[in-house]
Structure formats: C-alpha cells, structure tokens
C-alpha cells in the first residue's frame, strides 16, 4: 500500500477488496505527517485519536458487508477555515486560537456522513488574507517541491498536504483564487465552484459575495468524487442555489471534439512570466490535439479585476471580521479597562495584512468614499461578469494559466503588499463573475509546478471537470510526485 500513488478511487477499491483497512490507511497518513510535516508545516491541528476512531467506524461498516460510499474510510484534511465540531478551528489566526466549535460546517457534516476520516486542520493565510500562506498566525507552510518556496495561498496548507501525500484530499476555500493558485504551485487539482453551488454555513466568512467552498485532490476524478458530496442547496445558507447536483464523477468520460475553448489574450500579457506562458501554450496545443477548437477571445476588463477585488473584498472583510472582538469566542483580554479597550486588545492579535484589509475596507465604505470606491468597484464587477457572459456565448470553456509565475521564494514579497495582490490577477476575474474554475497540473519549470486554469459558465462544473479529466488522462502529470 503506497499512499503516494493511491488515489481516492484506488484506495476505495483497496478497501472494498480488503487489501488494507481504513485504520491502516489512516495510520499510514498519520505516519507520513509525522515523517514530513515538520518540514512542510501544512497542519495547525492533527486529530490523531479522532481520526483512528472514525477509521475504525469505517472498518466496522466494511466488515459487516455494508455498502460503502467512495469517500468512506479515506483520510482527508480540512482548511482551518471550516468549523469542525470538537476540533480546534482558527482560520489561521491567533484571534481564534483555542476556539473549538460546537458544530460542524454543513460541508464537513456531509463529508462525515459520507464516511470521510478527518485527520487534521490545515494552515492558511489568516482569515484567507493572502496568496502565499505567509500571513498565517502559525508556521508558514513550505512547498513540497522546493522547501524554500511558498505553497501558495490562502489554502497553502491544504494544497501542500495533498501534494506531499499526507492526505488524499483537502477542503479549501476560494474567494479570489485561494484554491486554484496554491493547487497550481503545488501540482495538485483544485476546484473553485460556482458561487452558490456549495454551502458557506459554518465556514469562517471572508467576503460574503465572493467566498466559495471547494476541494483539492490528486486527480480530477477524485476532485469530482469529493465535490459531488459537497455541492447542493443548504437551508442554512440562503445564498445556495436550489439546483440538482449533477453526477460529476460519471460525467468525466468522453471526448472534447468540437468543444470550443476560448483563450483570452489578456491572460498572457503583463506580469505573466515567459516560462508559464510557454508551458500553458503547450497544454493548449495538447487540447487542440485532443480535438478541441481553440478560439482567440478577449476579456477586456481583466486588468481592472485586481483593483475592483481589493476594494470589494476588504470592504466585506471589514464587516465580517467585526465579530472578532473576544466576546463570544477566541481568547479574551483579562486586563481591559472598558469595553473599547477590551475590543482593541483582542483585535491586536490580527496579522498586519488582516489589519491592512480591514482598514482599506473601513475606508472604502466610510462616508464620503463609498461612491468613489465600493460602488465604483461593484460597477466594474458588472463589466467583468459581462465579459465572461459574452465570451461564453462564443465558447464552452476558457483556458488560461492559473498563476502568473511559479511559486516564489518564502519572504520574497512580504514587504510589498501590492505585488502580492497582483499574484491573483488571473484568478480574481472569475471570482468577481462567480463562475467555476479548475486548476490542474500542466508542467514544470525549473522543477516548480505550473497550473492550467479551466473556467466554465456558472453551474457547469461538469464541463470543466470533463475537460480537465481528458487532459489529465492524456498527460498524466499527477504521476510526478515531489521527492519529499
């Protein structure tokens, strides 16, 4: 049993064939975490005993000959943004250190019902604020392909833990690129669903009109298996849409002949490095070989995406992070003079980037500035969405690089917030439009992974998953593993 080469599907088969048990699988993952996580630092919390308990429950079901779902007994991890009952949940911040939720996020509940074995909580940029996971209140995760490099962000811990074969898949969140970008720089598959496709209930809120709940896996088919369980309307999240969930895992096969793939010129300009451009171009040529029709398109408002996002997101953040005042959860200052002082002391634990964004947001929404900033940004958002709506009348999917560069060095950009914001330039527009996006491995440059981003219209995840699966089958980049 080699957990590096096993996928969710092959592990499921192995469990059914009784080649190994869920306890053995879980212990192998825990041993792997013991072996490598000191170097990778993908976890804030590892819930060893709870994991073994869940694994035993899965094994009992198998022993009784009960029908098991594909995720049953398979070890996974969750970005620390999701509430997990009885297991510490920090959202990567010291402001929530020690917080143990009394309930599960809806998605966590659904996965537990499907038999998932929760092994631990992954580190991340604090409250989702970042592109490198360097803004964590805990230890910075390292890229398994090169320890001196970032694992991407904000779901860096999740991407690193799947990439290093510590777990089979991980749950992440994507608000401006936080699943897609770390997946690209760690050479794993990451799915950002359509906004409203999966429930935000029980997940620490960052920007309520942009947050999406997705997953990171070793292969596209694994990702489809996980997302099928995650998706769906939730009574507890009124922004989820009441649409049936397609049978994603069974909609992957076929061919992409006559599929129209749009390639937007704006995504190959500016800060996109030459090596990334070349590798993604080769991937597009491969898609053409596989029968797709490549169509040049333009998404003219792409260059305004970062500015619009970094007004809208911090504005919503400044409202959502208002609740972290030490009253209902999290550590609470004992020596405060009055209520104001109490708030100030508890909120002093925020990472500087979080403080920056709260302030940008507070400023943008404040009297006298609302029209110039927040309202203007929302109008730009309309135009960015319109670009995609018009493009999807001509093409079925849009293909681009996920990240403008390969993983940069840890510490390289910390003193320049704006340069970090620009790392999201290729993922942000899709977030503003609320459409779905998949990132998957498409090559390497200097030993560092490059990701291909496939964007699809709202609620058509099955199309981007199918394109991704067919490309993956033809290229098998997932077979290449980091040597850690």
């Amino acid at each position: 049993m080699d957990i590096k080469t096993l996928t969710v599907r092959s592990a499921h088969q192995g469990l059914k064939d009784k080649k190994f048990s869920s306890v053995e699988l879980t212990e192998a993952c825990l041993a792997r975490i013991d072996e490598v996580d000191e170097k990778i630092k993908a976890f804030i919390t590892v819930c060893r005993d709870y994991a073994i308990k869940q694994a035993k429950e899965a094994d009992e079901k198998i022993a009784k000959g009960e029908e098991i779902s594909i995720l049953e007994g398979i070890p996974m991890s969750v970005k620390d943004m999701y509430c997990t009952k009885g297991v510490q949940t920090t959202a990567g911040s010291r402001v929530l250190e020690g917080f143990v939720p009394p309930y599960d996020a809806t998605i966590v509940k659904k996965l537990k019902e499907a038999g998932a074995v929760l092994v631990g909580k992954n580190t991340q940029d604090e409250f989702g604020h970042g592109v490198s996971s360097e803004n964590t209140g805990f230890d910075v995760p390292h890229n398994p392909w090169n320890f001196s490099r970032v694992a991407g962000g904000s779901s860096g811990g999740s991407a690193a833990s799947v990439s290093a074969s510590e777990v089979f898949y991980s749950l992440g969140t994507d608000t401006g690129g936080s699943i897609r970008q770390p997946s690209a720089v760690c050479s794993v598959v990451g799915l950002k669903p359509t906004y409203g496709r999966s429930s935000r209930y029980g997940v620490v809120a960052m920007a309520s009109s942009l947050d999406t709940m997705g997953c990171i896996g070793k292969t596209v088919s694994d990702t489809a298996d996980v997302f099928k369980v995650m998706a769906g309307k939730d009574e507890l999240d009124s922004t989820t849409v009441d649409m049936p969930v397609p049978d994603y895992p069974n909609l992957l096969e076929g061919d992409i002949k006559r599929l129209k793939i749009g390639v937007p010129k704006e995504y190959f300009e500016g800060g996109v490095s030459d090596d990334v451009k070349n590798i993604v171009q080769k991937a597009i040529e491969k898609l053409a070989d596989l029968g797709a029709q490549i169509v040049d398109i333009s998404l003219p408002h792409t260059k305004y995406g970062v500015a619009a996002y970094y007004i809208i997101c911090p504005s919503e953040v400044s409202a959502n992070l208002g609740r972290y005042d030490g009253v209902r959860y999290g550590p609470a200052a004992k020596d405060a003079e009055d209520l104001f002082d109490f708030y100030i002391k508890n909120r002093s634990k925020f990472h500087p980037e979080v403080k920056r964004r709260i302030m940008i947001g507070t400023y943008s929404l404040s009297s006298g500035y609302y029209d110039a900033y927040y309202l203007k940004a929302q109008k730009i958002r309309t135009l960015v969405k319109k670009d995609f709506d018009e493009a999807f009348e001509k093409v079925d999917v849009i293909v681009t690089p996920t990240s403008p560069t390969v993983a940069f060095k840890i510490g390289e950009k910390v003193s320049d917030p704006l340069s970090l914001y620009m790392c999201d330039v290729l993922t942000i527009p899709a977030s503003l439009a609320g459409i779905c996006g998949l990132s998957l491995p498409c090559g390497f440059s200097g030993g560092l992974p490059v990701g291909l981003q496939i964007l699809g219209p709202q609620f058509l995840e099955e199309v981007i998953l199918k394109v991704g699966h067919i490309y993956e089958k033809a290229t098998e980049w997932y077979r290449k593993k980091p040597t850690v």
Binding site: A307, I311, M359, T362
Partner: protein, 95 residues
Amino acid sequence: MKLSKEQVRHTAKLARLKLTEEEVELYSRQLSQVLDYMDILDEVDTSSVEPTSQVTGLKNVYREDKIKRVCDREELLACTKLPVERDQIKVKSVF
C-alpha cells in the same frame, strides 16, 4: 499621500484597531500605495453601469417560520472566556 496618518488613525479607531506610531507610518504609506493603484478604475466609464452586489440572482429566499435548533445554547455559551450570567455573556461596561 492618499491616506494621511490622521486618516489612518481615524480609520483604525472605527475598526477598533490600535496601531503603534510605526504602524501608522507604515500603513499610511502602504495603504496610500494601494489606493493609488485603485485610480486605474477611473479609466472606465461606469456612468450607465448597474452595480453587482451578488451573482446568483436569488431574491427573497424564505423558510418556514418554525423554530429550528441547530446548536444548544449551553454549547454556544461554552465558547466564551467571559463570565456567563443568566444565559448572558457579561462584558465590560461601555463607559
């Protein structure tokens, strides 16, 4: 600079954040840089564009007006570090 130190101090107070003098200096510089970058949006004529606040198009999502218990009050109150009296969390006085 777009954001003076005084504006930074005021914004921080609104957001219930306390900054050291060094932080005020640093953020004034960094935030001004970020806000300068936002000027790029002025290139676009949005006079006849409607703002987008949400992308699902959902309106008025209702549920039955029935009490639904998602979590026990005791479990929720157990999350606070502050004293709890008669099911209420006791905070410092405002004044």
